[in-house]
Symmetry: C2
Subunit: 382 residues, 2 copies
């Protein structure tokens, strides 16, 4: 926890709001520095009289729970706190059961709300609890990592892992409010901030060339914590919201959000989700590079596009090659097996997100497995 | 299992279909004798190529699984079978976890389907599994009890029990198809058939006087298994569908479906869900009588209406008085505590379904607890 983001201004920036328009399940994402201190009044304004169950993990509890509780107390909001162990292994049935029971034991009614204070693990697990208790309670997210602010705060995906794979049990359950306090990110280890940044860059790469160009020019300020960070989070949330609104249940366009993820997931799985070797955003970064190189191989883009992506991802400090993953990787055949088992593979066809240029990604169904295999053989040995 | 419905015709009746119009989640309920034998072709027509996980319980497995499997085999549908112990205690986290894991282990994909072959327990549990695996798989119901054909096959409520109460964990998840084979009901014990009939009568009492009058004239044929049984199931499903379509998430009018249920649930809870003493439909029957008597007490209806309800429920063999429940009941104060804890009680107010006549039930919020208490004291001693 030593290598954290510093030089952050302590002034309160103005608040930005991204609206996610999903009919009667619409909600707002509020983005800005210092939001956590005003969480109580914002929640009270939205849901007067509601009681809360705040779910957090042991790491986030130490850093940020007191600030939230002070704010809730100031707004007169009655609440219970439930803490889970930090880390992916909390996304399991036993924690789901325990939290459902504790929320009911705290006598929360259907008009009360679950608050997730934490990163993706806390958000995914708490969201599924909120979806299931009394067949659906209000859900409020206070994401504390860059990844969860720009990714899991939009889309309504919640869930836990099964022995058969990650995120295989869950629900689509939209939050009623998301509070993305960008100042909280100052407490993130640099490696986690960078990994979250891979998803920020993804939004530019998949559909917004001007945003990618803006990131090339402004990424240092995004890392440092100025208003550019708020801007990057807001623009990422807006990008994801645009895709999700168009395709809430992930049948078509929403697949674009998986740019870099087919290769990335395969690599995460290949290292058995050992985060000392690879975290999700790093896998996505390498995966996005592979998606661009594979697109070049198929004649969709030229080398200059690949070089531009490579330059930006590497200058922010993200890994861009499989060889940067510590330790041995399995051979291409094993990676292909993992890709074939991936839940995004439908009835035997391989689906990849490819690109025709920066900001011009598209869904390609029916990619030849043999071509991918040969490509991976070559990349693994380079 | 000796006291079963008999005299059933073995001819195939024509199929009736009730449509539940919920936009892109609309589905049909097919109703008729012998439907189980054609389940395979009906499912194949709706979801060509889909694989199935058939969830059933030990009792239904012995009676009806072979017929279903023969039909699936004839239609060339690949399927796995998962069996749970019969009874309410299967609606628990451990069975939910086990079934989710088994469905994934059978390698069912998101386009495949879960089939519930059984009564309410199988339907509620399987439906929640279908809602949660891969964040939502297709769900097909083949209800095998009268209660589940006329009640849980419409509305999309799925769920399991918690140590804090029944049905407190779950999801709203609509089926894509319901096959209500009225011939299957010939294998039901008479007590279970009668208990299901209480819900049939409820639809008349809450909003359809002509249907109640029709039941008064035709109930014997409904019990015997003629086309009148299909008609009663279809009209019940249509009644519930009308209410559910108007109010999918149970905020207003849908509460009418709870006619007789506030008192009924309190009695079920008072006997600790000991089915030897009281099953759900019996509690509903006594509860409906109490709701009418309470409505009379409040001057909403006269004694002739109460007498008409009493005559019909008692002539079909349903219990109508709390004194018919074997064993000791707790005092009125305890029943009031149970009612106050009921999930249908919102922020301290007592909500009851009362009536202004046969077919004219309405939701009354803010009933004086003291008036209910005095009423129960008197009824318990009568």
């Amino acid at each position: 926890m030593t290598d954290t983001i510093s030089n952050a201004s302590s002034d309160l920036s103005p608040i930005q709001t991204v609206s996610v328009d999903l009919g009667d399940r619409s909600y707002g994402i509020e983005i800005g520095r210092g939001l956590l201190e005003t969480a109580g009044e914002r929640i009270a304004a939205l849901r007067p009289g509601a009681r809360l169950a705040v779910i957090t993990d042991e790491t986030v509890e130490k850093l940020h729970l007191k600030t939230l509780q002070a704010s809730l107390a100031k707004a007169g909001i009655d609440h219970a706190v439930m803490t889970i162990p930090a880390g992916e292994s909390s996304k399991r049935f036993s924690q789901f059961e325990r939290l459902c029971d504790e929320v009911l034991g705290a006598r929360l009614e259907r008009n009360d709300a679950i608050v997730a204070l934490g990163g993706g693990v806390v958000g995914d697990l708490s969201g599924f609890v909120a979806a299931a208790v009394r067949r659906g309670m209000d859900f409020i997210q206070i994401p504390t990592t860059l990844l969860s602010q720009v990714d899991s705060s939009v889309g309504g995906k919640t869930g836990i892992n099964s022995r058969h794979g990650k995120n295989l049990i869950g629900a689509f359950h939209q939050p009623v409010l998301v509070l993305a306090d960008t100042g909280i990110l100052d407490t993130l280890p640099m490696r986690d901030f960078r990994a979250g940044y891979a998803e920020v860059a993804k939004y530019g790469l998949l559909g917004d060339e001007p945003f990618f160009a803006w990131l090339e020019a402004n990424w240092k300020a995004v890392f440092a914590g100025g208003p550019e960070r708020d801007e990057a989070v807001a623009r990422s949330c807006q990008s994801k919201a645009d895709v999700v609104v168009a395709d809430e249940r992930e049948s078509g366009r929403r697949a674009l959000l998986n740019l870099g993820h087919t290769f990335g997931h395969a690599l995460e799985s290949a290292v058995e989700y050992e985060t000392a070797r690879l975290v999700h955003g790093e896998g996505v970064s390498i995966g996005m590079m592979l998606a661009h190189e594979f697109s070049e191989r198929l004649g969709l883009i030229d080398g200059a596009v690949v070089a531009r992506v490579e330059k930006h991802l590497s200058e922010v400090g993200l890994p861009i090659r499989m060889s940067q993953i510590p330790g041995q990787l399995p051979p291409a055949g094993t990676l292909m097996d993992i890709i074939a088992q991936d839940k995004k593979v439908s009835r035997g066809n391989l689906t990849f997100i490819l690109t025709r240029g920066i900001g011009s990604a598209f869904v390609e169904k029916g990619v030849e497995p043999a071509v991918v295999h040969d490509f991976l053989v070559e990349k693994l040995s380079s």
